[in-house]
């Protein structure tokens, strides 16, 4: 049994739109305006084993990016806890502890858009070496040889060093982003839609690079994507999110072959495949509801074709339906 590298326990993120002065004043006079609260991530728990690739899938607005950002420590957590190698930290709260243990460095993030996640005014040499120099992992005089080594790892050559991000193509820029994340030798890398903005032929190159680096550097990935095809290929375990909550977790094979939750089924069947025989799509109805005003009971019931009366009232419990296969659906009762 591998060790747990990361444990996420009941973490939530609320975005609160507070009242402005006018509405507060109206409230004083007897108005009844309420603050708008969005539960972007609602009571989510799971863990990641060392060396594993965990894929998070869901539609836009389901909270998967928020979850990734909280784990990477660049967004404060509203409640709950995240522990890295059995040591707690949570967002920015435990600043002292994080500094002592360099948890920030051990968890790095690679973003979706290689155009906006690199500083356009910095040369690649400085983009990659900035963090390690700041954290005193390397000395200034080793800068060049260190960056050369990082560039080689991600498949770029030394010509890249004096160039600016705009001089690269999308795929190369994403490689620079990967090199920057790996420069501080992290153990866990959060990839937030890291291949979504790339062309098909470049996407395959970057996915291969991820697989390569995983082997060479013993990395663990939290791979966030909306693309079931990519997740299916790269992930060992899949976490399916809907409206801020996890609806199903299991190993990739289990999710694909013994899909439990109707939402996961819908996601899987909605994916266009390279199959010329299937000529008619049967999509699920409706759209993801507003998180400001989520439906009662099971959040998925308005779109679910198996929904019963119970689903409308009672929230399903997240429980084990098969060994290591968890799902939240009333149909399992």
């Amino acid at each position: 049994m591998k060790d747990k590298i990361l444990e996420v326990k009941n973490i939530s993120k609320k975005f609160i739109k507070s009242l402005d002065k006018t509405t507060k004043f109206i409230n004083l006079l007897g108005g009844s305006y309420k603050e708008e609260v969005v539960h972007a991530v609602d009571n989510v728990s799971f863990d990641i084993l060392s060396g594993e690739v965990v894929g998070v899938v869901g539609e836009s607005g389901c909270g998967k990016s928020t979850l990734g950002r909280m784990i990477a420590g660049i967004m404060p957590i509203t409640s709950g806890s995240v522990s890295f190698k059995e040591k707690h930290y949570a967002g920015f709260e435990n600043e002292k502890y994080k500094q002592d243990h360099n948890i920030d460095l051990k968890i790095q993030m690679i973003f979706q858009d290689p155009f906006s996640s690199l500083n356009p005014r910095k040369k690649v040499l400085d983009i990659i070496s900035e963090a390690p120099i700041y954290h005193q992992l390397i000395s200034k005089k080793d800068k060049k040889s260190f960056v050369a080594e990082m560039l080689a790892k991600v498949g770029l050559n030394n010509d890249a060093m004096p160039r600016y991000p705009h001089q690269f193509s999308g795929g190369q820029r994403q490689r620079v982003g990967i090199a920057r994340a790996l420069a501080v030798s992290p153990e866990l890398v959060v990839c937030d839609e890291s291949v979504a903005a790339l062309d098909v032929s470049i996407q395959a190159q970057i996915i291969n690079l991820f697989l390569d680096l995983r082997e060479k550097m013993n990395l663990t990935y939290l791979f966030i994507s909306h693309d079931m095809g990519v997740i299916e290929h790269i992930a060992d375990r899949i976490v399916v999110m809907y409206l801020g909550q996890i609806v199903e977790i299991a190993s990739t094979d289990e999710v694909i072959n013994h899909t439990n939750h109707p939402y996961t089924k819908a996601l899987l069947s909605g994916v266009p495949t390279l199959d010329t025989t299937r000529k008619v799509y049967e999509p699920i109805k409706g759209e993801i509801p507003s998180p400001l005003n989520p439906p009662s009971g099971c959040y998925f019931h308005p779109r679910c074709k198996f929904a019963t009366e119970k689903c409308k009232v009672e929230k399903p419990v997240f429980k084990e339906v098969a060994p290591h296969h968890f799902s939240a659906c009333h149909l399992n009762d």
Binding site: E59, G171, V200, Q203, A204, G270, I284
Partner: protein, 326 residues
């Protein structure tokens, strides 16, 4: 059967300070009535400019240099801008990738929709136009269309907005719809819904569809024929079944092999090395030569000609195919 749209040797070039960009370079294809054709390529391959050229939307510094675009016996390159306006939005409609950019944010949905009808039918009464628009909204699966007509685009979700643009495209019952990446900005489940809707509507109304996309998987299930573009040229075109199940051009083969579902889980994906060449300085020979694992000496010096194969497909490759001596 006579094709509804026939494009012959179309060249659209952009004249820039840095040089000439041959965004579309000598492409020929046709679309039959009621047919769904997929135009597939990576970004920068010229697929969107092909759509723009048909619609007459190419702006300076771009220019259609040569070639014919014949739509139902009308040569679209030789008609006045006024005549073109009668065709555009009326006989040929276009759906764009980002519905937030194509809908006017300060106009109600009904204003925008009725505008489309009134631009082409000056005599129609307001009530009639309104009814048509409301029915069109209902047709694309928007519930309670009467209320939705009064809404503004920002009150709609991405999927709903794209439905509205589809409804607008369908309003004048066009003979051809050019859909430029209509589902790329949408979620998987919504993408499924939109594909489903488009498929149904085209079948019912007999509208031909040119589906422009970077995603082979999307067009695999719905199109009759596929054209694959690379660096401004169509390098392979033929029936969907042949292109997907038996690709011949090394680039098409590479694209299909690199799709994750065609690979064994967890193993390295098949990859096409290198990247698309810069459009300013395309090589003298085949543009794919540098990345190709089946290249021969000839590829370096000479542009491959488009040749018809025994099974009916067209191919641009010196090494693969029957019509070339090796």
């Amino acid at each position: 059967m006579k094709p509804i749209l026939e494009i012959k040797n179309l060249k659209t070039h952009f004249f820039k300070k840095e040089g000439i960009v041959k965004a579309v370079d000598d492409i020929s294809f046709h679309i039959n009535a009621g047919e769904i054709v997929g135009l597939v390529g990576e970004s920068g391959s010229g697929k969107t400019i092909t759509g723009f050229s048909i619609m007459g939307l190419v702006d300076a510094p771009g220019k259609i240099v040569s070639g014919n675009i014949v739509f139902k016996d009308i040569d679209l390159r030789n008609i006045s801008p006024k005549q073109m306006q009668d065709v555009r939005g009326n006989r040929i409609a276009m759906i764009f990738q980002d519905p937030m950019m194509t809908l006017n944010p300060v106009l109600r949905i009904q204003t925008q929709m009725m505008e489309t009808i009134k631009a082409h039918d000056k005599k129609i009464s307001n009530q009639e136009a309104y009814d048509k628009c409301r029915d069109a909204l209902g047709l694309v699966g928007i519930s309670s269309p009467d209320e939705r007509m009064k809404a503004y685009p920002h009150q709609f979700s991405g999927g709903m907005r794209q439905r509205v643009s589809i409804a607008i495209a369908l309003l004048n019952k066009p003979d051809l719809i050019i859909a430029d990446e209509p589902t790329t900005a949408l979620d998987v489940t919504i993408q499924g819904q939109v594909i489903f809707e488009m498929q149904k509507l085209c079948k019912e109304s007999g509208t031909a569809l040119l589906w422009v996309t970077h995603d082979l998987a999307v067009v695999a299930g719905i199109t009759d024929r596929i054209c694959v573009m690379y660096a401004g040229r169509i390098i392979e075109q033929g029936s969907t079944d042949k292109i997907i199940n038996n690709p011949m051009h090394p680039y098409t083969q590479g694209l299909i092999k690199s799709v994750p579902s065609r690979n064994k889980k967890g193993e390295k994906l098949h990859q096409i090395d290198g990247m698309v060449p810069a459009m300013f300085c395309l090589p003298e020979g085949c543009a794919f030569e540098e990345r190709c694992h089946q290249r021969i000496e000839k590829c370096k010096h000479e542009q491959p000609a488009e040749l018809k194969q025994a099974d009916g497909r067209y191919l641009r490759c010196w090494n693969v195919g029957e019509s070339h001596e090796r």
